[in-house]
């Protein structure tokens, strides 16, 4: 008896943490370990790590530029795919279209590639933002392999 049109996740994790740079590594490693429940290849796991890192880094740098805030990260395994939701309650993005330009960057030391990597490494990426309210990024990725050469098969005794 489904209550929503969306499928119920087979599994999920939810992480809430402060927008500190030292939490970015924690977030991507946790999501990579969780995603390994699906038959992703090692290369795909690396891509998920980059996408997670970019999304969380954006919350830290752009969401809360002058303060610390809360970053919420939710990962679902639903219908055999990974769905990631990264949310902040920060300053938001005034011009979303401009932010999506590959060369757009608010800082000369940065390359403006964060969104490009998220779009390239995940199957789908959606971003919604409201100035003064925050930003939410939703990304999905489905394993391409049939599960024959998944992470577990390649590295039975290793943790990610």
């Amino acid at each position: 008896m489904p209550e929503q049109s969306e499928s119920r996740p087979d599994n999920f994790v939810q992480l809430t943490f402060l927008s500190k740079p030292e939490n970015v590594a924690f977030a991507r490693v946790a999501i990579a370990a969780f995603a390994a429940q699906l038959p992703f290849t090692l290369e795909e796991i690396d891509e998920i790590k980059v996408a997670t890192s970019e999304a969380v880094s954006n919350c830290v740098i752009h969401g809360y530029p002058d303060s610390l805030g809360i970053v919420s990260l939710k990962a679902d395994l639903v219908d055999g795919m990974l769905r990631l939701e990264v949310k902040d309650d920060g300053v938001g993005i005034a011009d979303l279209a401009a932010a999506k330009e590959p060369t757009f960057s608010t800082d000369p030391e940065r390359m403006g590639l964060g969104l490009v990597f998220m779009e390239s490494f995940m199957d789908e990426m959606q971003i919604e933002s409201e100035p003064g309210r925050g930003t939410i990024v939703v990304m999905t990725k489905r394993p391409t392999s049939s599960g024959q050469e998944n992470v577990h098969a390649q590295q039975p005794d290793h943790e990610l």
């Binding site: 690396d46 980059v50 880094s57 590639l113």
Partner: protein
């Protein structure tokens, strides 16, 4: 991230181990810039990435920033031993086109 710096003639070799992301980028920037400031004669920067298995856009940004610095003194920069797990972000960013990758430090030291 750990960073080991060695000055060989007018070359600064930076051997990095660990992840190059938002957190480690600032330390990386600080240490390299410190060395560049101390040794004004340095005109070649060699980044050994053999022990790096994660780089994101923050890491690429800080590498590009050091490239701009060394170029401003008419110098050159090389990447050495880029792992397959990180080469994709370098390729996508186009960074390989401006900072050549070499197989070994020796090869980078002999390039101009």
């Amino acid at each position: 991230m750990k960073l080991q710096l060695e000055k060989i003639g007018r070359t600064l070799v930076a051997r990095i181990s660990g992840d190059l992301d938002l957190e480690s980028a600032s330390l990386f920037r600080e240490k390299i810039d410190e060395a560049l400031l101390e040794y004004e004669m340095i005109n070649r920067l060699v980044l050994n990435l053999a022990e790096v298995d994660f780089v994101d856009s923050s890491g690429l940004g800080v590498i590009l920033g050091r490239y701009k610095k060394i170029r401003s003194r008419m110098g050159s920069m090389f990447l050495v031993q880029v792992n397959p797990s990180v080469s994709k972000v370098f390729e996508l960013s186009g960074l390989f086109k401006i900072i050549p990758a070499k197989d070994s430090e020796q090869e980078a030291l002999q390039s101009s």
